[in-house]
Structure formats: structure tokens, C-alpha cells
Symmetry: none
Subunit: 416 residues, 2 copies
């Protein structure tokens, strides 16, 4: 297995001013071509730290992918430090100079000496053209290992990877094959899931690994296979998936890049059904979970965020006596909300949420985390009670996922 | 200067399946208390790699903050590896067992043996209670250095940091005094802002630093003072803030932890005004920006996410001719939406959004990023047009911020 280390250089990352999206993007792309990323390292724009990291990385990894520190200003010292590391010197590269000059000319910008210096490369570097910016990429080989230095600006780095680096890495290392399968579940906790599939997990072949990735009431199961025989690995992963599915079928909403709201949307679309939402405690987040994805207008009629009792009664038509007698957070109220929104919006399905998201609003009988949800279609209108935790935002997200899961199960579980 | 290294453990990070937001969040918080982060390291859930990283980190840093690998399942090996590193063994911690048992009981969930094992801690660890999840935090001291192990789930890690770790790090290392003041602006770009305050910035005393932190149409200005004389630093930061404010007063919506939606909510409350929302392109996100914070029911009547034309016409009462003649994304439509929602919900203020968030939906005259917003109160109903970019989620967030800014200015700018 070819091993890679990602080395991101930049003070701004260590101050927390910028999220390190480059490490994630590079990891995903390397993973796809069967190169295993064994470490991410972030160091400051400081010679000693960069040299130390390069030294360590070459002892661990076969390919070292470096980003950052290639700008024209004094705080960018990656090129000089690479010269020191490879015991070489900067030389002006004529093709690089031509490309960077063209970059400035095509934008009608004046070129300064510090910009010309961007065409100075370590003598042992292979030049990688950067058509998206002014800092060229560099490819180095040393003792059978590869070092690649790229700018930290994400779209420039991505351009270099896609136009040159990925292809050259595959050629250089004649990489083995790696494949992943993600099985996405909702409505069951990590430890319960582990218990359901314990025997299957213990019998997994050694070239297939399992990981649990939990978040907000959902758990993703990731199967990873690696080896040289591509067909066999894909077959083995598929066979293990088929053994796994019957054990947990009702919890599985999708695979790989599937999103729960998108999966529910697809199900609704495939059944030609529309949905309307009446949100109290989720306060618009359930609607947002659908509408953040393009195409949601094909099944979502809309949402009424009925945040005050006034709106629940006067717009949504919940009976004033219901709220007076049982409270806004009650089975009776949430049932009326789901039924009424379906009728009001002329949708096939109506759903509703009402709960105490916290931190305030608790009563002796209704602690923070008391959440009612309801589902209504032409056949029935039903409610469910959940007792969640104390964190407002977590309660909103988990309520959304649990209700999406309910809608999903009502439509048959999974789009085929 | 006390140096810290952040060590994130998790295969999912190296496969690129999860963004490493923990490293950024931890960096920001450590920076605030004057601890310099000198490295981020990400390693897989593998004993050898974790041990190597711990060894290296203790040679470089004074504090090593570790996240991940504390779940109940077999792939989580951080605790066992820490035992090996510290040459100790796991012991069931009674207080930890009590807390995790309570966590399960309060949720009415059955507790399995693997959950009980979450209360097993290395014998030399100081227990850090985790009230947000089932994996406790751990604090270790060795040769004057501190190691902290926390779960990888962001809100659990953040809880441990804020309730325990940050304070104990300051005490342990007797860190110098550092103070920050965040001045939060909206409605002006970074470079224009820099121009407005250029002279003030050039005259800042050397012990006070300025940073620009832009995001989604907002720019935060952070003043940082450091030294030994706490009173003097606080006085100097306050004096500089008072010199700065008159230069940019109309763009400032708040300070420090102020959130734009909370700031707008406070203004509305102080003026005893209620608001109603009619959302098309923001699809519930504007409502969510209010309702994610407790107390929003005091000024927010509710929101109508009018995602289909059908709902815009039949529920919100936009004239069918208006949509037919001008389209749903138009000045005329958005004006009717804002006016009608105010009347329908009986609110003092009505606002509306309608736009092409992308990636689909563009027409020759209305490219992706064409966004109309409107504001209505008893005096007037007005609309504004923005031309934003191509990213759907960015467009939703920026639209929300621009509209919140408009509401804010209409109420006089800033709650005193």
C-alpha cells in the first residue's frame, strides 16, 4: 500500500482563522486512487518546523503532498526551505516565467519583481503549470519517494492535482486498488447497531475493515477493502453488504453520498407525493434540511413555522381549547398541527413538531428535551414522543432526523 | 510562550470523509488564552501511529490536546493506547459510571456492557465529566506537560473544553494575560472596511493587534492585547475600541459573542415589535437563524416557507397575475410577500425573500444568485435586489445576513 502524508503550511491554519479544507479534499482524492493517507500535518511558516516535518514525513510516507507558503511575500518561505531540504538552489524557470507573465498580461495587471520571482524554482524540481494563479506547482523525486509542493489557495491546488499530480502519482507508484462502501442508518444507536451485527463483524475477512461514524441520531457504517484484484474486492464488499443488509434493513436509508433529506425527497417524488410541514421546536430547520438541496420544490409544498400559539391557533387552526387543556407541547396539539397543515397546504402528507428544545421552557411534567412529532396522511394521523437531551441545537437536529426517518419508513423505507 | 499540539485521531479524517473542524475550533480557543498552537497532527485509529504521534508531540509541545477514538466500539482504541503510552491500566471510575448511567437513564435507554466500559479510565487520568455524551474526558500530567483526551464529536469536545480544560490549562501554565475584543460588522466588505480605518490601524500601540475575520457578508474585527498588566490591557483595548467605533458605527451590529440574529432579536424586543417571515429562497434558514437561539418566541411570530407558487398564491395571497407577469423572483412578488405576511400574521414587521439560489433555475434575465428581499412595516414596504454568486448554501446564508442587517438598520442599528 502506497502511503501519503499531507503537509499543510500556514500560520493562519494554526491560529484557527481558516478551516483546513485542503487536507480533506486531498485525502478524498488520494483515497480514490488507492493511496492511503496516513497522516495530516500542519506547521507554521517557519523554516525549522517545515524541515522537521519534511524529514519525519519522508521516513513514514512514500508521497508527501505539501500546500501553502508559495505566495510572493516575505512570510512565504516554502520554496527556500525546499531548496535547503534538497540541498539545491533557486533557478529562474523560463516556461514558468512565460506562464506567469501571460497570467498578468491577460488580466491587465502590472507585474512586479516579486511576481517574476514566482518563476524561480528549485533546480531539481519538475515544473507543474498553474493556470489558475501565479505560483507554479513543483514535483520532486528522491530515493523512490515523491514530494509535491502546491499553493494553499484551494482552487489552484485542486487544478494542479486534477491536471497533473493524480495521474503522475498513479503512474509513478503503480497503485493498488481500494474501495469503500458506506451504509447509512438512522433510528438506532451505535452500540445497539454494533450488537445487531456483532457476529457478522467478527467474521469479516481480514482485507475488509468496518468503521462506525455516528452523528445526530444517525450512524454510518463504512466498509473498506483493499488489494490488487479490483474485481474481487468489489465483489467481496458487495457480498458483505448483502450479508449485512438483512440484519439492519429497516434502519438503512441509503448508501455512499446519500443524504437523509434527499433520500426522503426521492422517495416522495417516486411515489408522486407532496409534503407540508408545521414546525414549532424545529423552527424552520426541517424545511431547511429539504430546501438546502436543489430540486426540493418538486415535493415540498412549504412549511409553516408556527412559533407562537397565536399563529398555531389563528393561522394553522389548532383549537384554542386543545392548547389550553394540554399545552402547545402535547400529543393533541401536534396531531392537530400535522392534520391541519396537510389540509391547509393541500399536500398528501403533513408532519409537525412541537417540543421543548431548551434550555428554557421546562415544566415539572415536561423536562427539556420533551419532543412530540406527528405524521398525517389520508389514512391516519399519529404522534410520537421522544425524550432527548439538553442541547438546543442537538435537539433540533435529532428531531429533524427522527421525523425524516418516520416519513421515510412510511413511504416504504428506501428508494430502489 | 506555552506551546500546544492538537492530535486528532480518526480514520474518517484521513479518508477525507469528515472535515477536521475540531482542529480549527481548538486552535481558536487556545489562541484566545495565549497558548500558541505549533502543530496539527491527524493519525489513524492505529496503536503504532498514535504512540508515535504522542511521543513526537511531547518532545515539541507543553500541552497535547487529543480528540477522537473514545467511542464504545472496537475501532476506538485511544484509551487502551493511552494506557500503553503512560504504562498504566484501565480502572472502572465510579463517578464516571454514575454519570454515564444517569445519561442513559434520563433518556430511558438500556445500558449495555460496552457502555459501562466507557467508564473505564487509565489509572493516572483525572476524570473530566462529559454531560453531553457517554465518553468521559481525561486529563494527564507527565514531566510538566499536559495531555487531554476528548471525544471527537464536536459539541461534546467543546463542552469539555469550556467547562473544564481551558480554565485548567490557564491555571496549570500560569499563562500571561490576553484579552480580546471582537467588533462585529455587517454590510461592508473587508477591503472597504480596511480603508475606512486605515489611519486608526496604523496608529495602534504595539501590544494591541488587529485581525480581520470575514464570513458570509460579515467581517469581524478582533483586537488582541497581551502582557502582564491586566487592568492596563483592558483599558487600552477599550480606549482603542472607542476611537474605532465612530469611524464605522453604522456597520457594527455587536461585540464579542453577539450573533446577528440575536442582536436583531434584542432590538425588536427593546422596541416591543414582532416580526413575521415569508421565505422562498432562504427556505426556512432565516427562521432557523432566529429559532436556533432560545427566547426567539418573544419577537418572532413565525415564518411561512412558501416554496411553491401554489402556496404563495393560495396561502400568502400573492396575486396570481403578479407571479404570471413578473415571475416569482421579482420586486413585485417579494413586495406582496412581505406586506401580506405582516398582515396575515398580525406582526409589526414583515420580511420576505425570493431568489435563484442555484444551481438550477436561472433564466436569461435572472442568473443564479439573483435575490430579491423586501421589508414591510406600517410606514412603508420596500424591496432590494442583490446579485450574489453560484453557491446555493452561500447564497442562502448571505441573503439571510443581508436581510437581518436591513431589519437591524430599520430599528436604529444597535441595542444599547
Amino acid at each position: 500500500m502506497i502511503k501519503a502524508e499531507i503537509l499543510n503550511i500556514g500560520d493562519e491554519l494554526l491560529y484557527g482563522q481558516v478551516t483546513n479544507t485542503n487536507a480533506q479534499w486531498l485525502s478524498t482524492e488520494l483515497d480514490k486512487i488507492g493511496i492511503r493517507v496516513i497522516r495530516h500535518t500542519v506547521v507554521p511558516d517557519a523554516e525549522e518546523a517545515i524541515l522537521e516535518a519534511l524529514q519525519e514525513a519522508q521516513n513514514r510516507a512514500d508521497a508527501i503532498l505539501i500546500t501553502g507558503g508559495l505566495g510572493p511575500t516575505k512570510d512565504d518561505i516554502t520554496k527556500k526551505t525546499l531548496c535547503k531540504f534538497f540541498n539545491t538552489q533557486l533557478v529562474r524557470h523560463l516556461e514558468a516565467l512565460r506562464v506567469v507573465t501571460e497570467f498578468f498580461e491577460s488580466r491587465g495587471r502590472e507585474m512586479l519583481e516579486i511576481n517574476r520571482q514566482q518563476a524561480d524554482l528549485p533546480e531539481n524540481a519538475t515544473y507543474i503549470p498553474n493556470l489558475k494563479g501565479t505560483a507554479p506547482g513543483m514535483w520532486f523525486e528522491k530515493n523512490g519517494k515523491v514530494f509535491v509542493s502546491m499553493p494553499g489557495v484551494p482552487h489552484e491546488m485542486q487544478f494542479l492535482m486534477q491536471s497533473y499530480v493524480l495521474e503522475h502519482l498513479q503512474q509513478f507508484f503503480k497503485t493498488p486498488f481500494i474501495a469503500h462502501k458506506m451504509i447509512k442508518t438512522v433510528g438506532i444507536g451505535e452500540s445497539y447497531l454494533a450488537k445487531e451485527i456483532e457476529e457478522w463483524e467478527n467474521n469479516l475477512p481480514s482485507h475488509i475493515k468496518l468503521a462506525y461514524l455516528p452523528s445526530f441520531g444517525m450512524v454510518r457504517l463504512r466498509l473498506t477493502g483493499s488489494g490488487t484484484d479490483k474485481e474481487q474486492i468489489l465483489k467481496d464488499i458487495e457480498a458483505e453488504t448483502q450479508k449485512l443488509l438483512p440484519l439492519i434493513d429497516k434502519y438503512v436509508y441509503g448508501f455512499d453520498d446519500d443524504d437523509l433529506a434527499i433520500a426522503v425527497g426521492k422517495l416522495l417524488k417516486s411515489k408522486n407525493k407532496t409534503i407540508a410541514l408545521a414546525e414549532s421546536c424545529t423552527g424552520g430547520f426541517l424545511a431547511h434540511s429539504f430546501t438546502q438541496h436543489a430540486g426540493s420544490s418538486e415535493y415540498l409544498k412549504g412549511s409553516l413555522v408556527a412559533y407562537s400559539n397565536d399563529i398555531k391557533i389563528n393561522i394553522l387552526g389548532v383549537k384554542a381549547e386543545t392548547i389550553e387543556k394540554y399545552g402547545a407541547v402535547s400529543e393533541q396539539t401536534v396531531l392537530e398541527m400535522a392534520y391541519n397543515i396537510r389540509k391547509m397546504f393541500g399536500a398528501d402528507i403533513g408532519v409537525a413538531t412541537s417540543g421543548i428544545a431548551g434550555p428554557g421552557g421546562a415544566t415539572p411534567n415536561k423536562p427539556v428535551g420533551t419532543i412530540w412529532v406527528a405524521y398525517s396522511d389520508e389514512n391516519e394521523t399519529k404522534a410520537k414522543l421522544y425524550q432527548l437531551g439538553n442541547d438546543r441545537m442537538v435537539n433540533i437536529q435529532v428531531t429533524t432526523n427522527l421525523l425524516l426517518d418516520w416519513i421515510r419508513r412510511k413511504q416504504g423505507g428506501r428508494a430502489k
